[in-house]
């Protein structure tokens, strides 16, 4: 299956802004993080289709996965 992967802030450094990823069926958010060698402790927020998801969340074809390090402001 295919999912859109989007990275933000420092996670973009040396990687990319967005990319289509080919994944095995039943892949989870953690598999995406591993696929791009992102240290798990750098990922603070995972959104799947714009909703908060944990790293064990099972993905479906066509999902958008957005990953963020800790960020803030007001």
């Amino acid at each position: 299956m295919q999912v859109d992967v989007k990275l933000f802030a420092s996670l973009r450094e040396g990687r990319f802004e967005s990319e289509k990823a080919e994944l095995e069926n039943q892949s989870r958010v953690i598999d995406v993080i591993k696929k791009y060698n992102i240290p798990l402790e750098e990922v603070h927020i995972c959104l799947v289709d714009g909703r908060d998801a944990d790293t064990e969340h099972v993905l479906q074809d066509g999902n958008t996965v957005s990953l963020f390090p800790p960020v803030g402001g007001a």
């Binding site: 989007k6 933000f8 802030a9 420092s10 973009r12 802004e17 603070h44 927020i45 959104l47 289709d49 714009g50 909703r51 908060d52 957005s66 963020f68 390090p69 800790p70 960020v71 803030g72 402001g73 007001a74």
Partner: protein, 573 residues
């Protein structure tokens, strides 16, 4: 410590002892206490009965990081209620070093003249001002810096304040001579109504601050400062990307208010986001990491240069970029930076000016996405044309003038950069805070979106009332300390940091406060403000969001489902 009081009716100055009831107040706690005690809640905010109060926070002038915020208070011409707006810059620490706990400005001059005020160790001089009338804030700051030297604190109003427009702010000089703003609620108009163009501060030979236990304070401040640097948000993310890093996360989460709150995502987000801004700043030799006052170690500010590498603006914040960007469908960061620079110079709150432009676009005065058109309209405000006077009085006034009903305000003040349906906790704050729609009054976005201080689903109403209440109380305390709100990321996540605050109060003031006493401070500030607003004529009907929140907002089809009865529980404590 002392109180400086200026009466503009007879151009007199008095120095007063600090009454016991105000000794343990500072910042917002003090401005609100003074306004509540001395200002008739039913008065015309631009009339002689209103007072303008400046107060540094409890920790101003000390070694604790990020403690240099200045609170400014009055009855607001924009909301009609009590107002506190705070800013960084060079003023608060100068007040503290002069031993001045508050400057109270009352009355209105009888003669049709303008004045400036110079504050120093022996008191205050009130002088007639003619040279800088009609000039922008940058010129005032440059002229005063040339006259009194680099170290002079400056607080000034631009043309908007001179015209007494409800979106006029008070600008404060920052350490580099750029501008920070006490932005919200039209406090610049109150200063203009008192015919004060600018206030300068010279802290030479000031009495300094009193400190009961220096060593204890130092120990606690060290723990606190360390916690700020160790927290990933205040230690890494804010210094690098500034507040504008929020564009992308709000956009992804479907909570970036787009086209006057019609959608939660903006197609142009990537063009105006914090990552893009960082790259642009670096490629043009700007400075991505800058503190708005001496002693800020988070340094979320920056200087943004134009295409030719020349200084364009500073303190270029998420709220501004969202408002003129996604809010108005403008996807050009350079145009938004020019608008930001103009608003700073003219002395306009960027959130309320952006809200006004959304209303102007609703009215068909400008096409959506017309950034150059916004620049022309801001120019009209500067010139004081009839259209400019309408726009400068904010979204409600403009909406009324042009028959628009979709107006993004609560209590007349523009809703900031988080859609209340998609980020429900902040919606509760917008509706209920004493300030009119204000994200900083109880920043539930931290817990709803940023996963700081917990994790509460932004799309579910569960837990939002309590979250907003607790944050509003904690914020009222922080705003009284003079600490920048951005310390809250570390404070929410780190117990040593929150305890250090109590230890610092006790060390500086010789008190024996517990954590509960600290929150009692926040509660009592809110109660004072609620009572003022009630006496000014506010009821629970004013604690409501605009009608359009009944419509669902894509991408999540989120609706506002928090009932009025639930909202009425927020400030019951």
């Amino acid at each position: 410590m002392k109180i400086y009081r200026v009466n503009m009716s007879n151009l007199s100055f008095t120095q007063e002892e600090v009454p016991e009831e105000w000794r343990l107040l500072g910042g917002r706690g003090l401005t609100s206490a003074i306004v509540a005690k001395e200002v008739d809640p039913t008065c015309n905010p631009l009339g002689s009965k209103n007072k303008l109060v400046f107060a540094p926070g409890l920790f101003a002038g000390t070694m604790v990081a990020n403690s240099g915020r200045l609170s400014v208070g009055a009855k607001s011409p924009l909301t009609g209620g009590i107002k506190e707006s705070n800013a960084g810059g060079t003023a608060a620490q100068r007040f503290a070093k002069l031993g001045v706990k508050a400057l109270i400005v009352e009355g209105i001059p009888e003669e049709d003249k303008w004045y400036c005020i110079h504050v120093h160790k022996d008191g205050v001089e009130i002088k007639e001002e003619t040279e800088l009338l009609g000039k922008g804030n940058y010129e005032v700051i440059h002229t005063m810096t040339a006259r009194y030297g680099e170290n002079t604190g400056v607080m000034t109003i631009g043309q908007a304040g001179e015209y007494k427009l409800s979106t006029a702010n008070i600008s404060v000089k920052d350490p580099k001579g750029h501008i920070r703003s006490a932005g919200r609620g039209g406090l610049g108009a109150v200063m203009g109504s008192k015919r004060i163009k600018f206030i300068t501060l010279d802290d030479n030979d000031g009495a300094g601050i009193e400190m009961k236990d220096k060593e204890k304070f130092k120990d606690a401040a060290r723990i606190f400062n360390k916690a700020l640097l160790e927290h990933p948000v205040s230690g890494d993310a804010l210094p690098k990307y500034g507040t504008n890093v929020l564009v992308n996360i709000l956009n992804e989460a479907g909570g970036l208010p787009t086209k006057n709150f019609r959608m939660g995502r903006f197609d142009g987000a990537e063009k105006i986001c914090g990552e893009k801004m960082y790259d642009t700043i670096v490629s043009r030799n700007g400075d991505p990491t800058h503190g708005c006052h001496v002693g800020c170690i988070i340094r979320c500010s920056q200087t943004y240069n134009d295409k030719d590498g020349k200084y364009l603006t500073a303190g270029f914040e998420y709220e501004t970029i969202w408002g003129f960007g996604a809010g108005c469908l403008v996807d050009d960061l350079d145009i938004i930076a020019r608008i930001d620079q103009m608003c700073d110079d003219i002395g306009l709150d960027t959130i309320d000016t952006a809200g006004t432009m959304m209303v102007a676009m609703e009215a068909g005065l400008l096409p959506w996405g017309d950034g150059e058109g916004i620049i022309k309209f801001v120019e009209e405000i500067k010139e004081g044309s009839h259209l400019g006077r309408i726009l400068g009085n904010g979204p409600n006034f403009t909406g009324k003038a042009f028959g628009v009903t979709r107006i993004p305000t609560v209590k007349g003040q523009t809703i900031p950069a988080y859609d209340p349906r998609a980020v429900k906790g902040i919606g509760v704050t917008y509706a209920t805070t004493t300030m009119g729609a204000d994200h900083t009054a109880g920043y539930a976005v931290a817990t709803n979106i940023l996963k700081v201080g917990g994790n509460i689903d932004p799309l579910n109403k569960e837990g939002q009332i309590e979250l907003s209440r607790n944050l509003q109380i904690a914020t009222a305390s922080i705003d009284s300390s003079g600490l920048c709100l951005f310390v809250a990321f570390a404070v929410l996540d780190s117990e040593p940091a929150s305890h250090a605050i109590i230890d610092m109060v006790n060390a500086q003031y010789g008190t024996n406060w517990s954590v509960e006493d600290w929150f009692d401070l926040g509660r009592s500030v809110l109660k004072t403000e609620i009572a003022f607003n009630k006496a000014a004529g506010f009821t629970s009907k004013d604690d409501r969001l605009p009608e359009f929140v009944a419509e669902s907002i894509p991408p999540h089809d989120a609706v506002w489902d928090i009932t009025n009865e639930e909202l009425d529980q927020v400030l019951q404590f």
